[in-house]
């Protein structure tokens, strides 16, 4: 069989393959060069950047749970200035797509960060992390308010011709409502899921295991939830859906593609093996070759559900 087609295009961005590394789980792309040929990754999504550097939360910031981990990093990042100075020049030398993930506590800050990065021409797309506390509304997350999520998209859309991906939070009743809202405002894609709100307690000390009491749950434990949210979303929008959550193997990634995700992002699994995205990308290629699939795109959305089972017959 001839070469398997693995390329993915989103507007002006071309990615070698459909396996990306998720924000906050691969630093700024220059930390693991000993372990990974980063040019084999479909796209590198940076740690969330805010305008000013952020120290992040007090320790402890991470704790392992069954099949997962909770984190409370507090968006620790080096800020736009240092990013442009210290990281962007290296990222520009790469032969892979770079997606800057943006976090902010006001809409103005989202705008300002995007404008600075856009002016520096150092990336191929933006991923907007809306799971950030909105300081103007008492710290409630932008991402759990559909109006605010739409507004961020509306404000950012005119500022760039590059693709804008809105990264949705799963901590809402209906994630597809959010996906539709940002699609209407011109988002090029949605990525999901960000972490689930989770908590763990140290019974000996009677204190939470992370300093902020609750944090974000990630890892294989949440994969079923992520897959269900992706399934809900692909049925509701026509822009590409990027699947994230608990992916550690080729099989996991294929589950998301079959369900309808155009791309997957690998998060927590990078902590165990920073080369895992490359290995998964190669595994998907092998799967295609074995199954005589010419283009990885042909896997996407091929889930066969039983139509005779009515919707009202819910699973409860």
């Amino acid at each position: 069989m001839t070469q398997v087609q693995t390329e993915f295009k989103l507007g002006s961005m071309r990615c070698r393959n459909r396996v990306w590394v998720a924000s906050g789980t691969f630093g700024y792309g220059d930390e693991c060069l000993d372990l990974v040929d980063v040019n084999k990754i479909g796209a590198i999504v940076t740690k969330s950047l805010s305008m000013k550097p952020r120290d992040g939360n007090p320790p402890p910031r991470v704790v392992e749970t069954t099949g997962g981990m909770i984190n409370s990093i507090g968006l620790a990042n080096i800020g736009v200035d240092r990013f442009l100075e210290e990281k962007a020049p290296f990222l520009k030398t790469l032969d892979t797509a770079v997606i800057v993930n943006i976090a902010a506590s006001t809409i103005e800050e989202y705008r300002a960060v995007l404008e600075r990065i856009e002016a520096a021409e150092c990336c191929h797309a933006y991923e907007i992390n809306v799971s950030c506390p909105n300081v103007k509304e008492g710290g409630l997350s932008f991402g759990t308010n559909v109006r605010m999520t739409a507004e961020i998209t509306r404000e950012l859309r005119p500022l760039t011709g590059k693709p804008i991906i809105i990264k949705l939070t799963p901590n809402v009743t209906s994630v597809s409502e959010f996906a539709r809202a940002v699609e209407d405002e011109g988002a090029d894609a949605v990525s999901l899921i960000n972490t689930l709100v989770g908590m763990s307690v140290d019974v000996k000390t009677r204190r939470p295991k992370i300093s902020t009491t609750t944090g974000g749950l990630s890892g294989p434990a949440i994969k079923p939830v992520a897959l269900a949210k992706v399934y809900e979303t692909v049925k509701s929008v026509s822009i590409p859906v990027i699947g994230i959550g608990g992916i550690t193997s080729v099989n996991d990634a294929l589950e998301f593609l079959i369900t309808g995700a155009e791309v997957v992002e690998i998060g927590t699994a990078n902590y165990i093996n920073p080369n895992v995205a490359v290995e998964i990308a190669e595994g998907i290629e092998l799967f295609c070759r074995e199954q005589n699939i010419e283009n990885a795109a042909d896997i996407i959305g091929t889930l066969q559900t039983d139509q005779t089972i009515s919707v009202v017959k819910s699973w409860m």
Binding site: G24, T25, F26, G27, E31, C32, D34, L35, K47, P53, D55, G56, P58, P59, P60, R61, V62, V63, E64, T66, G67, G68, M69, N71, I73, A76, G219, P220, T248, T268, N270, Y271, I272, N273, P274, N275
Partner: protein
Amino acid sequence: MKIELLPVVKCEQLTATVFALHLRSSYISDIIQPGQFINIKVQTGNYPLLRRPFSVARTHRDVITIIFDIVGEGTRILSEKRPGDTVDVLGPLGHSFTLPSAGTRPVLVAGGLGMAPMPLLTQNLKANGFSNIETFLGARSKQFLVDYELTNVKYATDDGSAGHHGTVISLLDEWLENNSHNELSIYACGPNPMLRGLQELLRVYSLSGEISLECVMACGIGICQGCPVESVNSTGRYRLVCNEGPVFDIHSVMIQ
């Protein structure tokens, strides 16, 4: 750093719950420095999920050794490794202790399993011509003292069942009172309360020193930002234990 599947040479039981696991890696044994660590995926699959960090305790030819205590599932699984098994190791990681300048006297202070990096440090100091090493080793009780390839050891136990009756810090305090403080190079590792005690003691004596910190880590390589320690006089508020440490100047960090 590299990820390697290392063959298990031996898993040796040292005390009721402490084990020495010997692994073959010419790559790591060649370049490892005292105080550096390796990050181990204790078994395949998603459980436990994350790697577990361990100081390298010694090297012998192409064999590296870690010494660990069974505290949870990960270390329990490690303790069951047998020759013929392999273990998935990422390393070496982190910054090492700084070797002292010639003429100084190395003082090693360890509490409990904080002794783990000390044999390699001892090996290294000896190889660099330091023969006058002082080692202070403390534990709750006699059966928790793990004296593995250490040199010139003075013991302390909280319950007095061996050596000095009291903490290793009070033992060191006594020793410092009766000995010259000139040209000491102090290296310590152990639980945070012990390290806080040491920090205060060294402040009193106006001595400096290096400590190796432990904290929960997700990645061990600087990509998760999960392992901060509050720092004194640095640009940002925090430094990362995994790749800016685990060895720090004792007076440069706020020990939790």
